[in-house]
Symmetry: D2
Subunit: 392 residues, 4 copies
C-alpha cells in the first residue's frame, strides 16, 4: 500500500486462530479507515521456525523471529501484539512495555490477579512515557454493542436495574471432544469463566458504564477426563485420539450473580455445554426508560425497547446496525449489508492506531482488564466458599 | 349443556383475574374434551354479596355465598377451587379437604413452608379417602411445555447439563405504578419470587424431571415506596393515587443459581422490572443429545435442537405446537391455528376431572407444590445469608 | 347466564370446524364483553338428526332442526349463522334475510359473483328494514390486524406503496392426503384462492383502506388425483382411503399481482403446498412513513417500522398486541398473556351484536364481501387468459 | 505475500462500491484459502487519473491506467475485473476476452439481451482458447445459499412446488433522495428489476436447479422526479441538492410470477421502497419433502424444514451456517462466528481462480447470465403488454 503516512511497525507473537484474526485486522484496517499511522506487518514470532515462516507468508508478515524476546529487542518494531495463551501474557507484555513498545494483548489479560496487577503497573509506567497498552476485548467494537453503549450514554435506558449476560457455546458437549490447552488450568488459567465469561463481564461493564462490586458464583465441570491427541478443529472440536486421556482442570460452566455500583443486579452464565448454541454471546439490559438485547449469533442487530413511546406502538425494535450513523459501519458497505466476526478486530486496530497517534491511552486499558480479572477472581473465591458473597 | 354424565359440582372462592380464568376453564373444558364427569359451575363465594352476585352472573355461576366456610359446608358442592391471595390458601384448602371436597388451589400453594406442610398433610389424609388436591401450576399444561417434558422423557435431550429460566415482566418498571396486595408481604408472602419465580421452579422441575437440591439466591427491591389508592389494571398497572404511599415489603426481583439432583446446574431470574418484557416466561434446557427453548411470549412454539442430526443441517427447530400429535392440541383447531394463555387452565381442569373420575391423584400434588415452596424458602434463606449455599 | 338484557336468539347451520368455532364465540362473548343483547344459542340445524343433536349437546345449543328452512321459519330465532360450504350460502342467506333474520355468513360469501350479487342485494333490501348481514372475515378481528388498520388510519404509514400478502398452508403437500369437499369445485367454488386467498384480499383491503382495481393471476394444481374415503383431520389432513381416487377440480395454489386505487401495488400468494407453513397468513405493508408486518403464526405480534424515528434507533418493533390500549385485548388477560385463533371469532360476535343493537350495518358487509368475490373472479379470468390484466 | 505460486495478474475497471469490494476480495482470498494461483492487484483503471491513483493506493493496486483500453492491451495483466455501470460491460468484456484476458464481470451482465448475447458469444469463443468469463452473481457464494443448493441437490427438498423471492430495499422511500445513475435507464438498463431482481432470479435458479420458462410482470415507478446533485451515500442515499430535478426512467419496483421447467411456480418482488428493509434478499423454496428459507439480513442462517421428520418434532430449523462442514466456512472462524457481506465476493474470487487454474469454465458463466437477462427482458415485455404471459 503506497502511503506517505508514518509507519506503525507491528510485531506479533502467536499465529493460531487469534493470530490469523489479528493479521487480517492489521492488513484490512487501513483499506477502509483513514488511519493517521500506517500499520506494517513487520515481524511474526513463534517458537517453530519453519511453521512461523509459513504462517508469515500466508498472513502477510515481512519477517519472523523464533523467540519473542528477540522480537521485543528489535529496534524496527513499534508495537507488540500478543496472541498467545494467557500464561505467557504477563512476561511478554511487561518486557515489551519496558522496551518502549506499545502493546495489544489478547484477553483475558492474565491468568491471575497478581500477574494482571503487575501488567497494569507496567502499563501505567509506560503510559507516562507515551507508550500505550490495550487489552483485546474485541466485542466492544461490534457495532451493535458500541451502539448499545452509546444509547446508555445518551440516557435512553434510564436507571439500569437488570443486566443478564450469557455466553453459550457447545464445543465440549460431546464427551469425546479431545483435551486441549484451554482445558488445562496451568495454561489457560480457567475454563469457560475466563475464556468467555470474561467477555461477558467486560461487555456488561462497557455497555452499562457500571462496575461490578460483588458476586456470588458457582462453577462446575461436567466431563473430567477427555481423550488426548485430538486434532483441534476451530476452538477445540473433535478429533481422533491417539491414546490416553487428560484431566480437565478448569470449569466447563460458570454461573454467577452480581451487584453493580449503582444498585443494579446482574446474572451471568458462561458455558461450553449449551448444545446448539455456537457462539451465543447475549447481553440484555433493562432500565427505567428502555431496554437493550443483543445476541452475537445475530451480530448485526440490536434490540431496543424505548419505554418512552406510547404503549400502543411500543415493542422491541430490531435495529439493523449497518447505517452510516452507527458506530464504525459507515466505512464499510451500504445499509443492510452485514459485517462479520472479524470486523470487531479491525475496529480495535483502528481505535488503537488512532489513540497512539493522538497520544491518549486506548481503551480497554490494562487497568480495566485488571478490573475484569478481579471479578473473575472473586467469582472463583465465591465458588470455593459455598457461593458466599464476595466483594470485588 | 345437556348430558347424562355424572356431575362434578364446583364451588369457587375469589373472582378476580384468576377467578375469571378458572370460570372460563370450567365452562369450556367439556365443550372440547370428552370428560368423564360434567363440571357444574355451582357456587361462587366472595365477601361482598353484591359484587359476588354480579360476578356470578357474568361468569356463569348458579349460586353465591359470602362466606367461604358456608361454601365448604354445602352438601351440593364436590370441589372447591381456591382463587384467592396466598395468605388464605391453607385455611380454606384444609377445611375443604376435611369436609371431603376435592381442591384445586392456585399457586403458590401457601405463603410459608409451615402452611404448605400442613396443606400437604391434609391432602395426604384426604387422598386416603379418595378426595384429591391439585395445585394450579397451569404453565405445565401449555402444549409446548408439555411437549418439552415428553421429549425429555423420550430421552431426546440426553443427560441434562443446564437449565436456565427467566420470568420477565415489567409492570413495576414505572416507579409511579401503585401499591397492590401483591407488594405486601403479609398478603402475598413474597414478590416476584413467589408469584412468578415459583412458576419457573415448577416448570424447570416438571420439564426436566429433576429436583433442585440446593440454591444460592439474591433478592432486591428497586422501589420501596409506591402511591396508594391506584386502580389496578391487569396485574397491577398504573392508576390514579388518592394520596399517600405504601411500603413495598417484597422483592422486586430474584436471581438464583441451583444444583439439581442429577448434577445439572440452573440459573433463574424472576422480575417485574424487565422493561419491554410483558410475560416472558422462558425456559431453556441443554443436554448431551438435545436442547429445548421456550418463551411464553411465543407460547405456541417450542425450539428443539436435535444434536443427533448431522452438523450440516442441525439447528434449533421451531416446532409449531399445534399438531394433532401434540399434547392437548388435537382437541382444538387445525394445525397452525394457535392457542392462548387460557388454554393451559382449561387443560388443567381436563386433567383434574379425569384424575378424580379415575380415582388417581392429580399432578401437581400438594406435595409437589410443597417442594416448590421449600425451594422458595431456601432462596430466601440464602439471600438473607450473603447468598451462601442452602440445601433444599 | 342470568341477565336482564334483551336476548338475541341465534340459529346456526352447520357444526363442523367452523360451527364449533362459532358456538364457542357465541358462548364466550358475553362472559368477557359487556354486550347490549344477550346471545342465546337457540337452535342448531343439520341434516343428520342424530348427529346434530349430539353436536348441539356438546356445543351448547338448546334445540335442533334437520332442515335449515325450518330454522329460517322459526319465530323464536333472530339471527342465522351460516357455517356450511360455500355452495349453500346464497340460498340460506337470502331466505333468512327475507324472513327478517339477521345473518352472519362464513366466507367466502359465495361460490360465484352472481350469487354474491344476489346476496348483497338481499342484504341491502333487508338493511332498509333494520335487518343486517355480515360476512365472517374473522381475521379482521385479530387484535394485531385491527391495530394495523388503526395505525394506517392514524397516518403512521403514510402513502402506501407495497402490500405483500401470503397465505401459506401445507396440508396438501402430501400427495396421499385424501380428497375432500374443499377440493371439489362444485362444493367449494375454488381452492386455495377462495378459501385462504380471500382472507388475504380482505385483510389487505381492510388494513390499507385501499381497493384492488386490477389483477394478473396464475393458478396451478400440483396434484390432480387424490384417494377417496379418507377421514379428515383438521382442515383435511391424512386418512385411510377405502379405494379409488377423486379428481381435484380446484387450484392448489394461486399467485397474483394487483394494483390498488391509490397507485400502490400488491403481490399475493395462497397455497396449501408450502411445506412447513401451517397457517402462515402474512401481510406486509410498506408506506412512505412506516411499514407493518404480520404473520398469523405469531398472531399476538405486529411488526411496525416507524420511518419518522432517527436512523440510529429505527428498526421493526415487535409490538406485543396484548396491552389494554390495543383493540379488544383489554377485555381479556394482563399484557403479555396471548390470545388464540378463536378470539377473532369472539370479537366478531361482539361487534355484530353491538351493531345490531345500535341499528347500524356491521362490517364486513355483504357488499364488501362481494367486492372480494369480484377480485377472486378477476384473478380467475386473468389466469384463464394468460395472466393478462383484468380490471375488477 | 511471499509465495512461489504462479501469479494471476488482475486489472480492474471501476473503483466505487463494487471496486472496493472486489479489491478486498482479491487481497483477502489467498490469506484464507489455498489458491493454485496467486492473485496480484496489478492495475486499476479509471478515467480520472488523480482519483484512480488515490483509489489504487487505498485499495492496494500496484499501477493505474486512465483508459480501460490501455488496460486491456497490457501484456502484464491476465484477468480483467469489470466493476463499472452496465452500459459499459459489453464493450469492455468483449475487448478483454478477445485480447485473451479472463473476465470477471459484475451483474447484471449487460443492459440488453442483444449485448448479453454478444458477450456470451465472445465468452464461448474465448473458452475454446482456455480464456474464461464469469458473471458476478456473488450471492451464490453466500454460505447459506450454497448450502441451500447442496440440500436441493441431495434431494432433501424433493419435488419443488414453490419459489418465492423478495429483494427488498428502502433507499428510495424518501422522495427527496437524489437522482443517481442507477435511476437513469441509459446507464443502468433498468431499475430495481435489473439491479436486485436479477440477483433473485439467479439465486432462484441456482438454488433450485430449475429454469424460468415464462413470466408475467408488473413494473411501477412511484417517484418520477428527484433532485439533482446529491452526494450519494452507500447505494444512493440522501444528499443535498444543488438545484433542479432529474427524471427517473427506470422501475422503482417490479413484481412478477413465473413458471419453471419442472412445473414449479414462483412469485418475485424487487423494490427500493420497502421502508425498513435494508437489504432483505429473501428466498423461500417449498418442495414435497422439505422447505428452505433465507433472508440476507440474517445471512449466516438458513431455515430448513425437513418434512421427513415426524410431526411431533418437525419445524423450521435455523441452521447457523458456520460449521466446518458448510460451504466455504471452514476456512474462516470457529462455528458461530458469523461472516459478512464481503465474504461472498472473496469466495467468488476463490472459485474463479480455482477454475482458471483447472482449465474449466467458472460458473455463473456468461451463458447463465444471458439466461437471467432473457428473463428480465421477458418481464419487461410482459409489463408492457398488460402483464400477459411471456415465454422466456
Amino acid at each position: 500500500m503506497s502511503t506517505d503516512k508514518p509507519a506503525l511497525r507491528v510485531g506479533m507473537v502467536g499465529y493460531a486462530f487469534m493470530g490469523a484474526m489479528h493479521s487480517h485486522a492489521w492488513r484490512t484496517a487501513p483499506r477502509f479507515f483513514d488511519l493517521p499511522l500506517h500499520p506494517e506487518l513487520a515481524v511474526l514470532a513463534g517458537r517453530d521456525g519453519r511453521a512461523v515462516k509459513a504462517a508469515a507468508g500466508k498472513m502477510g508478515w515481512a519477517d519472523t523471529e523464533v523467540d519473542w524476546r528477540a522480537l521485543v529487542d528489535r529496534d524496527d518494531v513499534d508495537l507488540i501484539d500478543i496472541c498467545t495463551p494467557g500464561d505467557t501474557h504477563a512476561e511478554i507484555a511487561i518486557a515489551a512495555l519496558e522496551a518502549g513498545k506499545h502493546v495489544l494483548c489478547e484477553k483475558p489479560l492474565a491468568n491471575s490477579v497478581e500477574e494482571a496487577e503487575r501488567m497494569a503497573a507496567a502499563a501505567q509506567a509506560a503510559a507516562a512515557k507515551g507508550v500505550f497498552a490495550m487489552c483485546g476485548f474485541s466485542y466492544r467494537r461490534t457495532p451493535a454493542l458500541a451502539l448499545a453503549r452509546r444509547l446508555v450514554g445518551q440516557g435512553r435506558i434510564g436507571t439500569i436495574r437488570h443486566i443478564r449476560a450469557q455466553y453459550l457455546q457447545d464445543w465440549l458437549s460431546d464427551e469425546t471432544a479431545p483435551m486441549t490447552w484451554r482445558l488445562d488450568r496451568s495454561r489457560s488459567g480457567s475454563g469457560a469463566l475466563g475464556d468467555i465469561g470474561a467477555h461477558s463481564i467486560d461487555a456488561a461493564q462497557y455497555v452499562s458504564g457500571l462496575r461490578v462490586t460483588g458476586v456470588s458464583g458457582l462453577l462446575t465441570t461436567f466431563v473430567n477426563e477427555r481423550p488426548l491427541g485430538g486434532t483441534l478443529v476451530g476452538l477445540g472440536g473433535q478429533g481422533a485420539s491417539d491414546g490416553g486421556t487428560g484431566t480437565v482442570t478448569v470449569d466447563d460452566a460458570a454461573v454467577f450473580s452480581a451487584r453493580f455500583d449503582s444498585g443494579a443486579i446482574g446474572v451471568f452464565e458462561a458455558t461450553r455445554f449449551a448444545l446448539g448454541r455456537k457462539n451465543s454471546m447475549r447481553l440484555e439490559v433493562n432500565g427505567s426508560l428502555g431496554s437493550l438485547a443483543f445476541d452475537f449469533e445475530n451480530m448485526n442487530s440490536l434490540e431496543f425497547y424505548d419505554g418512552t413511546q406510547p404503549a400502543e406502538t411500543s415493542g422491541f425494535s430490531t435495529i439493523n446496525v449497518t447505517e452510516p450513523v452507527h458506530p464504525y459501519t459507515g466505512n464499510w458497505w451500504p445499509a443492510g449489508h452485514g459485517l462479520g466476526y472479524e470486523h470487531g478486530f479491525t475496529h480495535q486496530v483502528v481505535d488503537l492506531v488512532q489513540a497512539i497517534a493522538d497520544g491518549v491511552a486506548p481503551s480497554p486499558s490494562f487497568d480495566e482488564a485488571l478490573g475484569v480479572q478481579k471479578v473473575l477472581h472473586a467469582i472463583e473465591r465465591s465458588a470455593a466458599n459455598d457461593s458466599g458473597w464476595q466483594h470485588v
